[in-house]
């Protein structure tokens, strides 16, 4: 009641607890950054455990790393970097007041890249791993050539599936967010004056991409492959 008198007409997307759009935008951005810090700690816990065990069981982890197909990882890295570009272009389109069709185009392209990543991961890479019997808990088999390294290789594969699995969960959440953004754009929610949800979701999407870059390097590349 008093609020309406105090603030007059609300701009679109304005939430009642804020004084103005500027404050709302800053709060949203800070909120996402704080959330990303929790995510860094979340993945950081896994990375720490991984690195500790890598130091303890270096040879096993190298053997495990050789079981992964770099071609899958590299393709997916490329796909994700493309999706980050299209995400940034979607935000750019909203910021500069382009037609909503253009924003939706970039968002959908981002979703296609995201889906491609997950498709490659689940239907090719993980299926391949399953056939090779290197999925811990699901028909994992020690190979004679590993000798005493076997348990360490299994440990490596545990971390591989756990870390990339957690990353995949974040990707799926990201696809959900993108779907919501497409619907919001279609309903004309965004304008050059208000595109905070796009911007904040973009931060999340880029973060998930960066985590993948680290995973790719840590799991596939390091370990004396050459």
């Amino acid at each position: 009641m008093t609020e309406a008198a105090a603030h007059g007409a609300h701009p679109p997307g304005f939430a009642h607890q804020f004084e103005d759009m500027q404050q709302q935008r800053e709060a949203g951005n800070l909120g996402m950054w704080v959330f990303l810090v929790t995510e860094i700690l979340f993945f950081g816990g896994m990375f720490t455990a991984y690195i500790v065990y890598r130091l303890l069981h270096y040879e096993s982890f190298v053997t495990g790393s050789h079981l992964l197909e770099v071609k899958f990882g590299a393709t997916n890295t490329y796909v994700l970097i493309c999706s980050s570009l299209t995400m940034a272009l979607a935000i750019r389109s909203a910021q500069t007041g382009k037609r909503k069709g253009q924003i939706i185009f970039w968002l959908i392209l981002t979703m296609i890249f995201g889906a491609l990543f997950l498709g490659l991961k689940f239907t090719f890479e993980w299926r391949h791993d399953y056939i090779e019997h290197i999925v811990p808990g699901f028909g994992f088999q020690y190979r004679p050539e590993w000798g005493s390294l076997g348990p360490g290789v299994q440990m490596f594969m545990c971390f591989y599936f756990f870390m990339t699995g957690m990353h995949a969960v974040h990707m799926i959440v990201g696809l959900g967010i993108l779907t919501v953004l497409v619907i919001m754009t279609a309903r004309n929610k965004f304008s050059p004056g208000y595109y905070a949800p796009l911007e904040i979701s973009g931060l999340y999407w880029h973060f998930v991409d960066i985590v993948w870059i680290f995973l790719f390097a840590l799991l596939y590349l390091i370990g004396g492959r050459y």
Binding site: Q23, A49, L56, G137, C158
Partner: protein, 544 residues
């Protein structure tokens, strides 16, 4: 419920609309995004969890009256102390002050209409409830016997109890404290009223800010640790299992990386409450404001580098042990700064001893005991003797109960008139505060002695020589139980029969006392402008 707005500095008394009567019905509560109502939802939830956890403690203390155990099978006893620990740590003490008083007070104290993300705030309550239901369900269907610390390989390979379900419950609840912490950080950064600079913020806000930092930085790590443990248990893959190259100590490192700072999630907000109580009932600006404020941040920072003091006897490197020992001693410095500043605030203050002040004084004494005995445990040599004994049990109960719970009760009493618009009966409250203090000391002081003499914790039986001390402890627990029960009765009673409180029954300073009790939905009818914190000079200590 009628409201007393007579004498309000702000807000037309004729409106009489407040956050409690603005809308009615169960739906208006379950779908609310009002930080004050969410605070009350949390209040009811954590009180319920406190009763469940307290019940477990009652059964344990009854059991321990006899050396051979009076009630339970040893396996059942293990489940009871585990249930007590998990519920009291994760579902009561961690959320108690931040989620109830913090939710209610933070926006008001900084002059905001609400937290930055009201819907997220409601979501965090639902997340808490889901975690609580899963945990309680697992407990009812058989329970868990690992201790609240879930140490592998027992928890991951050998325990026959519902470890996975309880771990999932705790994991989910963690996200509730992450969301609350995130909300508070953004709220405190971005929602302050004009003139509310960082160094005019109430000390409760500083404490809540430091707490939120810990919650946001620490909780994700314990979450991931618990997931790893759950995976090991469900899929039978070795992660912490030494038989396949895993390292159980890694679990302990990761667990305590969160769970030591979590001690400060539990104690910092109560310290903030005590700062408010001491200054209000001494009618004097808190001594050394900036030192008290900065000591909260110092505690938050140091808390992240001391976790190894839980592992002195686990085979951790002796050099790591030395470093962790020195760092642990350093926590004593900011803690002591607070204690000394509170004491100095009392000097030449016009002190009165209403119930909240009794709790605050109790806090200072008991937390000092808890803190000083912590130094015994931070010292490598004495820790070898005391680790795993009742000395530790007594130490952390002095901090968690004598500190956190007592300050929580003090805070609930202090702000009860603001929350409900009603006064609680002062005589009963003082009686209860004294009973809690006496009962608490009688329960836990004997445990220092038992522990010093070598009685190990977590055993269902004990040598007969410890019986006198155990009986004393159990007797104290019943006094403590009565002390908790009385406020439960009269606070509920006061909702209907308590005297109308008026906006500022204590003559305290702070934005929350400038608005009506209970506050209107939007908190401030006219946006506040802040000029000074704790401006007690010139008011002469008179009540409004």
């Amino acid at each position: 419920m009628s409201t007393a707005t007579a004498g309000a500095h702000d807000g037309p008394p004729e409106s009489g609309v407040n956050y409690l009567n603005a809308s009615y019905g169960i739906k208006s509560w379950l779908l609310t995004t009002d930080h004050k109502r969410i605070g009350l939802l949390y209040l009811v939830s954590v009180t319920f969890m406190f009763l469940v956890g307290g019940l477990a403690a009652v059964v344990m203390r009854l059991h321990l009256v006899e050396p051979q155990g009076a009630l339970l099978e040893p396996e059942t006893y293990n489940k009871f102390f585990t249930m007590h620990g998990i519920i009291m740590v994760f579902f009561f003490t961690i959320p108690a002050v931040p989620a109830t008083l913090g939710n209610f007070l933070i926006p008001i104290m900084i002059g905001a209409r609400d937290v930055a993300f009201p819907k997220l705030n409601l979501l965090s309550w639902y997340v808490f409830i889901v975690g609580a239901i899963i945990t309680l369900g697992a407990i009812l269907s058989g329970g868990v016997d690992t201790g609240w610390t879930f140490y592998p390989p027992y928890s991951s390979l050998y325990s026959q109890s519902h470890v996975a379900a309880v771990a999932i419950g705790v994991f989910i609840t963690g996200f509730s404290s992450i969301l609350t912490g995130l909300n508070f950080i953004v709220t405190i950064h971005k929602m302050r009223a004009p003139g509310m600079t960082w160094f005019r913020m109430p000390l409760f806000i500083w404490a809540s800010y430091a707490t939120s930092l810990i919650a946001v930085l620490g909780t994700p790590v314990v979450a991931i640790t618990i997931v790893l443990l759950g995976l090991e248990r469900l899929l039978h893959v070795g992660i912490f299992d030494p038989a396949v190259g895993g390292d159980p100590l890694l679990f302990q490192h990761m667990f305590w990386f969160y769970s030591h700072p979590a001690v400060y999630i539990m104690i910092l907000p109560p310290m903030g409450v005590v700062s408010e109580l001491i200054t209000a009932f001494s009618r004097k600006r808190v001594f050394g404001y900036s030192f008290v404020a900065m000591s909260s941040l110092a505690i938050a920072v140091i808390s992240f580098v001391v976790w190894g003091h839980h592992m002195f006897v686990t085979g951790q490197s002796i050099y790591a042990g030395l470093v962790f020992s020195v760092l642990s001693f350093m926590v004593a410095i900011p803690s002591a700064i607070k204690i000394f500043n509170w004491t100095a605030t009392l000097y030449k203050g016009s002190i009165s001893y209403e119930a909240p002040m009794l709790y605050a004084m109790g806090f200072i004494g008991l937390f000092t005991m808890g803190g000083l005995t912590g130094l015994f445990l931070a010292a490598l040599a004495t820790d070898v003797h005391l680790n795993g004994t009742y000395f530790i049990v007594a130490h952390f109960h002095y901090v968690m109960v004598g500190g956190a719970v007592i300050a929580y009760l003090g805070g609930i009493h202090f702000w009860w008139p603001k929350i409900t618009g009603r006064l609680y009966p002062e005589r009963w409250a003082r009686l209860a505060a004294l009973l809690v203090f006496v009962g608490f000391n009688l329960t836990f002081f004997p445990q220092f002695l038992m522990g010093y003499m070598g009685m190990p914790r977590r055993y269902a039986v004990y040598p007969a020589e410890f019986q006198v001390l155990n009986v004393l402890s159990s007797a104290g627990a019943s006094v403590l139980g009565v002390g908790y029960f009385i406020p439960l009765i009269y606070l509920i009673w006061s909702l209907r029969y308590g005297k109308p409180a008026g906006p500022n029954p204590w003559g305290a300073k702070g934005l929350e006392w400038t608005i009506a009790s209970p506050p209107p939905t939007e908190n401030f009818l006219t946006p506040p402008v802040v000029e000074e914190a704790y401006n007690y000079s010139g008011t002469g200590g008179s009540h409004d």
